[in-house]
Structure formats: structure tokens, C-alpha cells
């Protein structure tokens, strides 16, 4: 009975969407502001990657809101799971075999190096803070599953996460002090396609990468180890 009502409702919605989406073509320009960002992107922000200059240059305030949402979700998860330090949950995870253990020890530094490279070159090639932070968090997930009993240092991860967030807001306030707007690009823009270019964009991406990486690793640690 519930299945029939579900399928009927979805068919009605599908008919409505198909009738009203006949006018949208595929593969034609639809907006005007995309052209402005592509044509004037390099001389106004200095980053060669246009998606980076939109995310961290023109729309940096939205990125600050997104980091706040991720921070709130981590606080909620920590409040549900990790208040008492003495009670640990006892999941019966099998100890890993020799092949898995050796492969993990070989792959872990390669993953950390790849993540750091993608974070630092965020304004020159595809990549950036979020992608590099997710790769570093997957390296820590591999360490939890492949090594016998190694866990991350919790105090260090909390300090790194707090410093990342504070650096972002402090850079914005410095922009407010030196005269113009919040998160104004006050360092020099340099030459395009050089490593030290585009003002404060690489510094913001390093702060974002450290914060996202340590937050996601902390989420994994709370789920495996702690019960209330």
C-alpha cells in the first residue's frame, strides 16, 4: 500500500518536471557573471585556477559559513559520543594480516605527501584545501584499519583544528583593519602561475586544509573509539 502511494506520487512529480524542463537546452551559455569571472579573474585576484578565485577570492564569506557548518557538526558528534574519557567501546576488529600491515606502512607517507601537494598548489592546478584535507583524513582512516592499535593524538588534533579556524578569521580582520573590506586581499598579487602569487589565497587554503583534515580524522576517531 505504501509502495503504491510512493510510486504514484513520484510519477506525478516526474510528469510535472518533464513538462517544465523542456525549455532548458543542453550545452549553451546560461549566465552572464561566469563570463566576467573568466575574463577579469587573473588581473583582479591573481590566481590561475578560476574556480579557486571564485571560492576563496570573490566569495570567501560563503566559505567561512561552510567551515562553520562543518565545525558545528563536529561539535554535535563530540557531544553525543566523547564526553567521558574513561568509557571505551570494544569493537571486535580482527588484527590485520602481514600483507595489510606492510602495505599500510608503505602507503601512509605517500598519501600524506600527495595531500600536502594538492593543498599547497590549490591556486595553480585543480585541487585546494577541501580535496587535500579529505585525502589526509583518508590516510588516517587507513592507519586505523591497518595498523595494530595506533591511534591519533587527540590534544594535537584539537590544537591544529582551532589554529586553522583562527587563522582564517584573523586574516579577515587584518583586511578590515588596513582600510577596506573583510577578507580583502592585502598582499601583493605577484606574477600569474608562480608559486608565491595571488595574495592571501594560498595562506587561506593551507588553514582550510589543516582544519578540514583534522576535523574529519576526529570524526572517525569518535565513531570507532568512544561510547558515552
Amino acid at each position: 500500500m505504501r509502495k503504491l502511494i510512493g510510486i504514484l506520487l513520484l510519477l506525478i512529480i516526474a510528469l510535472g518536471i518533464a513538462l517544465s524542463l523542456k525549455e532548458i537546452p543542453f550545452g549553451i551559455t546560461k549566465t552572464i557573471i561566469g563570463d566576467h569571472f573568466i575574463n577579469k579573474g587573473i588581473e583582479e585576484t591573481g590566481a590561475v585556477n578560476i574556480v579557486t578565485s571564485v571560492v576563496v577570492g570573490y566569495r570567501a564569506f560563503d566559505t567561512l559559513g561552510e567551515i562553520t557548518i562543518l565545525f558545528t557538526a563536529t561539535i554535535g558528534l563530540g557531544a553525543l559520543f566523547g564526553i567521558y574519557k574513561k568509557k571505551k567501546v570494544n569493537l571486535e576488529i580482527e588484527p590485520p594480516s602481514l600483507i595489510v600491515f606492510t602495505g599500510t606502512r608503505f602507503l601512509f607517507p605517500i598519501l600524506i605527501l600527495t595531500g600536502t601537494y594538492i593543498i599547497i598548489h590549490g591556486h595553480l592546478t585543480p585541487g585546494g584545501g577541501f580535496q587535500g584535507g579529505a585525502i589526509i583524513a583518508s590516510a588516517f582512516l587507513l592507519m586505523y584499519l591497518g595498523c595494530k592499535g595506533k591511534r591519533i593524538n587527540e590534544n594535537l588534533s584539537k590544537v591544529v583544528e582551532a589554529l586553522g579556524g583562527l587563522t582564517f578569521v584573523a586574516l579577515g580582520i587584518v583586511g578590515l583593519i588596513t582600510g577596506k573590506d573583510f577578507l580583502f586581499n592585502f598582499l601583493s598579487k605577484g606574477e600569474p602561475a608562480a608559486l608565491l602569487s595571488a595574495g592571501i589565497i594560498p595562506i587561506i587554503y593551507i588553514a582550510i586544509g589543516l582544519k578540514v583534515g583534522s576535523e574529519l580524522a576526529g570524526i572517525i576517531d569518535n565513531l570507532i573509539e568512544k561510547s558515552k
Partner: protein, 119 residues
Amino acid sequence: MNFLSENIYYIGAFSLIFIGLYIVLVKKNLIKVIIGFSILDTGIYLFLITLGYITDGTAPIFSKSGLIADKMVDPVPQALVLTAIVIGVAVLALAISLAVKLYEHYGTLNLRKIKEQKW
């Protein structure tokens, strides 16, 4: 057949959205419902990126020095979807932690049975 070959991306994105909605509406197990949310999110991201595609365009990065600026794909939907992916994983982690706490409190993950109990 021409209509099908032009709009195949839109059909794929909306199929994922409808399958995700069906899982959320009909299924009883809480973790199955959260898997349905994840599939629904992936369908929406695919639809947004398809809106910004220009036929025979290239990625919006000036990596070499001779690239023309008027054959590039729209960069604004890509920035929006990048933000949306990170927000999606944050909401999913909080939902999973609430499901685990519900199982520890009630002893079952069946939504019909949880609604019938008082406390």
C-alpha cells in the same frame, strides 16, 4: 533518439533523484534511509554541474599560455557544488551518530516500532 542522445545527462541525474526519494519514502530501516539521502545528494550535484556545461568547452584553468577565454565552461556552478559536497558529508556524519545512539537506546532500528514506543 536524438532527444535521448542530447539529454542523457539530465535523464541520469533525475533518475538518481527519484530513486533516492523512493528509498526515503518507503523503506523502514534507518540506515537504508540515510543511504537514500546520500544517493539523492549525488543526483542533485550531477544536475547542477550539467547546467553549466558548454559544448566543446574546456576546464576553467589558464594552465598554458595560449588558451582562449570564450570556450571555457561556467565556473560558478562548480564553486557551489564544491561547498555543497562538504556540507553533505557533515550532515551525514551527524545523522549516522544519531542513528547509533537510537539503536543503543531502543534496541531496534525499525522506524515503525520506534514510533509506537512511548519512552
